[in-house]
Amino acid sequence: MSVTEMFSNIQGFLSADQDVREDIRKVVQVLEQTAREILTVLQSVHQPSGFKDIPSKCLRARELFCTVRNQIGDLKTKFPADQYYRFHEHWRFVLQRVTFLAAFVVYLESETLVTREEVAQILGIEVDRERGFHLDIEDYLAGVLIMASELSRLAVNSVTAGDYGRPLRISTFINELDSGFRLLNLKNDPLRKRYDGLKYDVKKIEEVVYDLSIRGLAKEPETGGDK
């Protein structure tokens, strides 16, 4: 094989690679659009009026997750199944976003921490790398941390909306989450940086609980009834 032929082959490989990336980028873009739509639905819980009909908002979000599933299904067809990490950077960001959204919906519905299995199911993907397009553990954790930050905002806004019980329940939940993260040996990577942010969320929520306590507004969270 001549040098020219060899370079032609490689050029072929590179072009194919670029085409794949282009295809992925396009699907990811529509996926981001859907993610923004779900976010808009869920963001409204922060508004005073929004606290009333959380269930209906969750339903609406669940519907939109169908679209997400379809779009991820489309994404899977764009590259060889065993080269997930080759193109990981392309969908990493959006996958963390939709994981966050799934975790947020599950929290709003049941005040529990979504498991990696549940997220995978909501997104129509796998947990184990061997079984196909999967949810990387670091992406799952990143999504959970984004939710923690959203919950600290929710604690603040639920007080504004007059719901004094929620911040205490959020506090319990987020403390548990924090304990979980302490078990992990994170490298100096983006996840570690995000986890550092969790401490501020914990602190913020603690301050809200404190504010309620000194005013005698803190009630034992009635976890039983809500779940």
Partner: protein, 265 residues
């Protein structure tokens, strides 16, 4: 030919000299590589120790965590011992670049543990005192004095590595402060702000007389101090809304609310 013979003999002189050079260079390079690898191991284990130590703000009893950290740090010291063995009879500074990252991370871990235990800054001397190793295997010589000398192996952390490790420690202290506030611990933040301010004053006192890497960390150090001061400020401002004696009540009841067994001493 004559030429050939005459040419061959000096030729082999030069070549044989270069063959010894090759051995010397390769030996040095191989040693350097081994030290780099030891340093990476030390870095990873020290980082893990630091992560472990952060658990103290959330568990009822710090002792267990500290004991676990002791175990981990013992493991790290075994690695440092290996470095010391590699450096036996060498000029430490010849290979310093190879292991400085690991040693800095070790200083960070060990000084973090020390702070948690004693609420004070570990000194360079104290760190170095723990890096004196006794040789376990039998010395080959029979002269007792020689044997004595052979059995002690020391590693000296340089002041600069110490400073850089301590500079990074302040980042961990800041994280610990925020966690403490988040866990309703109102004393630790004020202690930390006091301690961090002392370290910051120490670093400003040194200023730009130290090596460049130290000056570079000053900015981050100032930011960490700022975050800790902000945390104390918030505690004070929020605490201002009720009388002080009530404050303690609120926090203790608060802690009880979350988990009665987890009140931090």
């Amino acid at each position: 030919s004559e030429d050939d013979d005459e040419g061959a003999s000096p030729s082999s002189a030069v070549l044989s000299a270069f063959k010894t050079f090759q051995v010397e260079l390769d030996t040095k390079h191989d040693k350097y590589e081994r030290l780099v690898k030891l340093s990476r191991d030390i870095t990873i284990e020290s980082k893990r120790t630091i992560f472990l130590l952060h658990r103290v703000t959330s568990v009822p009893d710090a002792k267990e965590v500290l004991a676990e950290a002791d175990l981990k740090l013992d493991g790290v010291r075994l690695k440092i011992r290996q470095i010391a063995e590699e450096l036996r009879g060498e000029d430490l500074y010849q290979f310093h670049k190879a292991f400085t990252p690991g040693i800095q991370e070790y200083v960070e871990a060990v000084s973090f543990q020390h702070f948690i235990r004693h609420r004070s800054l570990i000194s360079l001397e104290e760190i170095n005192a723990r890096l004196v190793f006794l040789k376990e295997d039998k010395a080959e010589t029979k002269d007792p004095a020689e044997q004595q000398r052979m059995q002690v192996l020391t590693f000296q952390v340089t002041p600069t590595d110490y400073l850089l490790g301590v500079a990074d420690l302040t980042g961990e202290l800041m994280r610990m402060c925020i966690s403490s506030v988040g866990n309703g611990d109102i004393d630790t933040p004020f202690q930390l702000s006091q301690f961090l301010r002392q370290i910051y004053d120490g670093f400003s006192y040194i200023g730009n007389t130290g090596p460049y890497e130290v000056s570079k960390k000053l900015h981050t150090l100032k930011q960490s101090l700022g975050k800790v001061e902000d945390a104390c400020y918030t505690l004070r401002v929020r605490g201002s809304e009720i009388p002080k004696h009530m404050l303690a009540d609120v926090f203790s009841s608060r802690a009880a609310l979350i988990d009665p067994d987890e009140g931090v001493a």
